[in-house]
C-alpha cells in the first residue's frame, strides 16, 4: 500500500509489475479466506441449528409454536399483496414475450408448456425467494443483530433458554413453510394472469385448453421438486440471515454490514441450489 513517505520520496517507482499486482492479489486472498471462513461458519451454524431443531423438538411448544406461526405468517401471508402484484407482472412478461412468437409459428398449444417450464419450475420459486429475502431475510438480520448487540442472547442463556431454539428455529421453519406457501400463490397468480394477458392479446385459446395444457405438462415430480426447492430456498435464507444476525458478537453499527453480507450470500446460495435442481430436472 503506498504511504505518504513513498509519495514524497525522490526515488522512482519500481518498474516491475509485481508490486502493482500485489494489492490485487492480497485483496483476492483476503476475500477467499473470508469466503472460506464464512462457508465454514455457516456450515457449523446450520448443523448446530438442525441439531437443536431435532433435539428440542416439542420442547416449550407453547413458546416456540406461536413464534413459528408468526414467522410463517410474516413470510407467507403478509407478502401476499406484493406477491400477487409480481405474479401479474410475471404472467404478463412471460405471455407477452412468448405469445407473439408462438402465434407466428402456430404453436399456441405450447403456451402451457412454456408457463410450466418458466413459471412453475424456474422463475416462480426464485422470484418468491428473492421477495422473502428482501422483505423478511433482511429484517431478520436487523432484528437478530440488534438483539445480539443489546445483549438479549446472554439474557436468554441466563434464563436457561437456548438462543438457537428461541431465535433461529422459528425463523428457519417459518421461512421454509412461508416461502412454500408464497411460491404456490405466486405461481397460481402468474398462471391465471398469463391466461388473462393471452385473452387480452386475442390468442385463440379456450380456458379449458389452456388449463389442459398446464395439467398435461405438470408431473408429480414437479410438485415434489417445487416443495423441495422452496423449502431449500427458505431454509437457506433463514439460516444465512440468522447466522449473520446472531452467530457473532455485533455492535449496532455493524448490523447494516451484516445485512448486506447476508443478502449477497443468500442470493449466491439460492442460485447454486437452483442450478442443482436444474440438473435434477435434466436427469429426471
Amino acid at each position: 500500500m503506498p504511504t505518504a513517505t513513498a509519495h514524497s520520496s525522490p526515488l522512482p517507482e519500481p518498474v516491475s509489475g509485481t508490486s502493482h499486482r500485489r494489492p490485487l492479489l492480497n485483496a483476492l486472498g483476503r476475500g477467499l479466506v473470508r469466503f472460506i471462513l464464512s462457508v465454514q461458519g455457516l456450515g457449523a451454524f446450520a448443523l448446530i441449528s438442525l441439531g437443536v431443531l431435532v433435539t428440542n423438538f416439542g420442547v416449550a411448544r407453547n413458546v416456540i409454536h406461536p413464534l413459528t406461526l408468526q414467522q410463517t405468517f410474516r413470510a407467507g401471508v403478509r407478502l401476499l399483496p406484493l406477491a400477487l402484484f409480481l405474479s401479474m407482472a410475471l404472467g404478463f412478461v412471460v405471455i407477452g414475450q412468448t405469445v407473439a412468437l408462438l402465434n407466428r409459428v402456430g404453436a399456441q398449444q405450447l403456451l402451457g408448456t412454456v408457463m410450466v417450464t418458466v413459471v412453475v419450475r424456474e422463475l416462480g420459486p426464485l422470484l418468491a425467494a428473492m421477495l422473502v429475502l428482501s422483505r423478511v431475510g433482511t429484517a431478520t438480520v436487523v432484528e437478530l443483530g440488534t438483539a445480539r448487540a443489546l445483549g438479549e442472547v446472554e439474557a436468554l442463556e441466563v434464563l436457561g433458554i437456548d438462543p438457537i431454539h428461541y431465535f433461529v428455529v422459528p425463523r428457519f421453519a417459518g421461512m421454509a413453510a412461508g416461502l412454500f406457501a408464497l411460491t404456490v400463490y405466486l405461481i397460481l397468480g402468474a398462471l391465471l394472469s398469463g391466461y388473462l394477458w393471452a385473452f387480452l392479446q386475442d390468442v385463440p385459446l379456450l380456458p379449458s385448453d389452456y388449463f389442459r395444457q398446464l395439467a398435461t405438462n405438470l408431473s408429480w415430480l414437479d410438485f415434489f421438486l417445487l416443495a423441495a426447492k422452496t423449502a431449500g430456498f427458505g431454509s437457506v435464507i433463514g439460516l444465512v440471515s440468522c447466522f449473520h444476525g446472531l452467530a457473532q458478537p455485533l455492535s449496532l453499527n455493524e448490523v447494516s454490514g451484516a445485512t448486506v453480507r447476508a443478502v449477497g450470500q443468500s442470493i449466491v446460495l439460492c442460485v447454486l441450489l437452483e442450478a442443482l435442481f436444474i440438473v435434477v430436472y435434466l436427469v429426471a
Binding site: A60, E152, L159, D162
Partner: protein, 266 residues
C-alpha cells in the same frame, strides 16, 4: 419441563472459582481478571466493588455461566461448568438468576411477557401456573400499571426492575445483580437496597427462602450495612476484603476510590 433440585443447605459452596482468568464478554481476547480464587457459600450476601471497566460485570457473567473461564476451574453448585449449552448446564443455570445492568429485556416483548417468558418456557403455558406468578412479580416491582408497555417505553430503572422480576420468576437460589444502583436517584436507590436486603433475609416473593446474593457496585458505601461479605476488583485482581471492621485502616488510594474516607471511618 422444569427439573426441580433441592436448594443447597446454608454454608454449602455455591460459587467456587480456583485460579480463574476472566476475559471480557464483549472482547474475549482481553483479560479482565487473573487468578480469581473466590468461594460464595449458600446464604451469603457479597458486594463486589470496582471502577468502570474493572471487570466486575465480566466476573458476574462468568459466575452466571454465560462464558467460560480462560483458565482455572469454576464450580457452580458443586458442578464444573463446561462450555456450550447443554441440558445438565441448563439445570444448573435455572438455579441462579442474573439481573443485568439496565435489565437487558427482550425488546419485542412487553414487560409482563418478559417476566412470563421463563415461566412459559420451562413450566408450560398453564395459565394457572403463569398468570398469578407474573401478577405477583409485577406487584413486587410496583410496575403493574405499565405491564403492557414495551421495554423502550419505560425508563432504564424500570427495565432493570423487570429484569429483577424476570430473574426471580423461577425462584432461584443464587441471585447476581450487576450494578443495580447505577444512575439512580436516592429514592430508587433506596428501593433497590431495601429490596435486595429483603431478598437476602427471605422475601415472600421467593417463598421466604434466604437468597444467596452477589451485587456488583461502583461504590461500597450503599451496601456497607447490608452485605455480609465484600470484595474489590482492581488492576486485574480480585481482593476479598472481609467484613467492614477488617477493612484496611489506612487511607489506601484504591479503597478511597470506592469508599470516601469520612464514611469508611464511621
Amino acid at each position: 419441563m422444569l427439573d426441580l433440585t433441592p436448594p443447597a443447605p446454608p454454608g454449602t459452596p455455591v460459587v467456587e472459582m480456583r485460579d480463574v482468568v476472566v476475559t471480557s464478554l464483549r472482547h474475549p481476547d482481553e483479560v479482565m481478571l487473573q487468578n480469581v480464587n473466590w468461594t460464595v457459600a449458600a446464604g451469603e450476601f457479597w458486594t463486589v466493588a470496582g471502577l468502570l471497566r474493572s471487570g466486575k460485570s465480566d466476573l458476574l457473567a462468568l459466575a452466571a455461566g454465560i462464558m467460560s473461564p480462560a483458565s482455572g476451574s469454576y464450580h457452580l453448585f458443586g458442578n464444573e461448568l463446561t462450555a456450550g449449552f447443554e441440558h445438565e448446564r441448563m439445570a444448573l443455570q435455572l438455579r441462579l438468576g442474573l439481573v443485568f445492568d439496565g435489565g437487558q429485556l427482550l425488546h419485542h416483548l412487553t414487560l409482563e411477557h418478559n417476566i412470563a417468558l421463563p415461566l412459559r418456557y420451562h413450566l408450560g403455558d398453564a395459565k394457572a401456573n403463569v398468570e398469578p406468578r407474573v401478577r405477583e412479580l409485577l406487584e413486587f416491582t410496583e410496575l403493574s400499571r405499565w405491564a403492557h408497555r414495551l421495554p423502550n417505553q419505560v425508563n432504564r430503572n424500570w427495565q432493570q426492575r423487570i429484569g429483577l422480576a424476570r430473574a426471580l420468576a423461577l425462584k432461584p437460589e443464587l441471585l447476581l445483580l450487576d450494578t443495580p444502583l447505577t444512575g439512580l436517584d436516592p429514592k430508587d436507590a433506596a428501593w433497590w437496597t431495601d429490596t435486595v436486603s429483603a431478598l437476602a433475609a427471605g422475601h415472600p416473593v421467593v417463598d421466604g427462602h434466604r437468597l444467596t446474593l452477589v451485587v456488583t457496585a461502583d461504590s461500597l458505601e450503599p451496601w456497607r450495612q447490608r452485605a455480609t461479605h465484600f470484595a474489590v476488583v482492581r488492576e486485574r485482581q480480585f481482593i476479598a476484603l472481609g467484613p467492614p471492621e477488617r477493612w484496611p485502616a489506612r487511607n489506601e488510594p484504591w479503597l478511597e476510590e470506592l469508599l470516601p474516607t469520612s464514611k469508611r471511618n464511621h
